[in-house]
């Protein structure tokens, strides 16, 4: 394998958790829910996936634990914002703070333990294609899931009737309610889907990216995922592209450090965060575009009258 392939492989590994977490948030936001707790759900997924893998020895059970953990944890957010109509911004922050706290507590016994890395699964025939084969078809399950997720969410949102309902709720929840769509229930499902995806993204971190548990290991990726959703203007395929762009930026700092360019490592580490700010500025520059694409009821509370 050449140096270029090696670099591309690291880009894919770095991009996958961003794509996963952002894709879940995309669905939640399309339904009109702004969940700023992605970071918290992600670390919860990471710690639960790691713990389950350590207990059972199977990283596949770890993946399931990460997904289930993220989804259950997001229910807390759903209960507050959907049932008790608490402020979505504040509740999302609460979810992040609580997630970091609980995961730190749960992960205490696992700190410093070396983990089990999720092994790649080669797809017969396809993995024999030169260059592309090893890159795309000799990957781990979570990578395949991320690509399937993008295609699936695109189909779901724009082709299925339930997806149409999700978009309708995000555009105008009062009208959706008047048409008899159960807004709260659909939003619960969308929030849980977002939680499950963030949990899976966390599992990728503790099973693939750095197969061990480090406290607060999502390190702002949840927040970057939120920026990614805006960057993609709520469209799945654009989100995939954006995810790989962010992945490339965040990995370039590691390669730059390895090359030893004489730039202080802290500056390179700050690169993904700075890049996020720059990207946010670039998107908001086109205000019209953002206004047209933002789900109109995003972040607004909904109380059905009975």
């Amino acid at each position: 394998m050449g140096i270029v392939e090696a670099i591309l492989l690291t880009v894919i590994t770095a991009a996958t958790p961003l794509v996963l977490a952002a894709m879940g948030e995309l669905v939640a936001e399309r339904a009109g829910v702004l969940n700023l707790g992605v970071e918290g759900m992600m670390v919860m997924g990471a710690v639960l996936a790691f713990a389950a893998t350590q207990m059972t020895g199977s990283p596949y059970i770890g993946i399931l634990a990460g997904i289930a953990g993220g989804a259950l944890f997001s229910l807390l957010f759903g209960f507050l914002t959907l049932t008790l109509v608490a402020n979505q911004v504040a509740t999302g922050l609460a979810l992040t703070i609580l997630g970091i706290g609980i995961s730190g507590q749960l992960g205490e016994p696992y700190v410093g333990m070396s983990g089990t890395k999720l092994q790649p699964v080669a797809i017969p025939l396809l993995s024999e294609i030169p260059v592309l084969g090893p890159l795309l078809f000799r990957q781990d399950l979570i990578f395949y899931m991320s690509i399937a997720l993008v295609a699936g969410v695109h189909w779901f949102l724009f082709r299925s009737r339930t997806g149409l309902k999700i978009r309708a709720i995000g555009d105008n929840h009062a009208s959706a309610h008047a048409l008899g769509i159960d807004v709260i229930r659909m939003r619960y499902l969308a929030v849980m889907f977002g939680g499950a995806c963030a949990g899976l993204a966390g599992a990728q971190l503790s099973l693939v990216y750095t197969p061990q548990w480090v406290e607060n290991m999502s390190a702002g990726r949840g927040w970057i995922a939120l920026a990614l959703v805006v960057f993609a203007s709520w469209r799945p395929w654009r989100l995939l592209a954006g995810g790989y762009l962010f992945g490339a930026v965040s990995i370039s700092q590691l390669h730059a450090q390895a090359l030893g360019l004489g730039i202080p490592s802290q500056f390179l580490s700050a690169l993904p965060y700075a890049a996020t700010v720059v990207v946010l500025i670039l998107i908001s520059h086109n205000r019209r575009m953002t206004l047209i694409n933002t789900p109109a009821s995003l972040g607004k509370p909904f109380v059905p009258d009975r």
Binding site: V85, A90, A94, I97, L98, G101, T276, V277, L280
Partner: protein, 364 residues
Amino acid sequence: MRIELEKRPQASAFYSVLSPFIALFLTVIAGGIMFALLGKDPFSALYGFFVEPLLDIWSIHEIAIKAAPLILIGVGLSICYRSNNWNIGAEGQFTAGAIAGSIIPVVFYEWHSPLVLPLMLIFGMIGGALYAAIPAFLKAHMNTNEILTSLMLVYIAQLFLDWMVRGPWRSPDAYNFPVTRDFAPEAILPELVSSGRTNLGFAFAIIAAIALWFMMRYTLKGFEITVLGQSQRAGRFAGFSSRKMIWFSMLLSGALAGLAGISEVSGAINKLQPIISPGYGFTAIIVAFLGRLNPLGIVAAGLFLALTYVGGEAVQLTLSVSDKVTRVFQGLLLFFVLSCDTLILYRIRLVLAGRPGAAQSGAS
């Protein structure tokens, strides 16, 4: 069974006073359950966490020291949140203030003058305000979401501090430890009373809280903040500018966070090091909400959350539980605060399955 909300005709004054206390009560119960799950006796753990620190003078001073930055940052954030500007990067502004305020004692350490301390404090405020000016500018003029930018800047500030104390500002006599030189005595915030370590920072916090309380309660500026937070459109009709409000609230909260940063470094740590805060900037968000975004409420809330830090350290030693317990407590508290605030605007009904409205209970 499901929960239904019924909007009250008018916000309940009763619950707006009571809801933080219900939240505290629920947090203590949840905390007890958590200790029980960890295999500790919940009663002695809670006693150690919440009561014991109040019994000796040393701990009380520790609480005041930790409450000072929480209150300073919290009251600033309350102005932001009231005006609908979601600055969640106070931790970064705290760090920026600490760095800017340390320029004199670290770089010009040979300059001895009574002016050193006031200048440090002013530099700290300017540093915090300038750092908050970045998301403020981006929101006001580029329409960029301030939540994400202010948060990203936290990471950047922390990495910058890390570089400073390992690189240009590393003390020559610290044997490669990543710290700056110790501050000279005139660069250290004096203690407030003779009985312990509580420093002037606590006085700053109380003064800031009272001043902002006065502003919100009596002045047109406070009214402007309230109106713009409730409805930008109504604010525009009143002739208030939401763009100027972005600047005002962000610079004010940034300056207060910066003051908290330099006060902490000058009063409690006496030098710069890679980590100067146990997450004060984030905990202050909880403080702001627990205090119901009221500056005087925030004083009480700041003292309480400071207690969770001190109590957390105490049980860490006596019961050998990890320091993460504190974080969990804080997170739970914010959740309960947000849930209980629903009671202020709504009546909550528990509807048992079957005919809607058949069985009703709950608060009304």
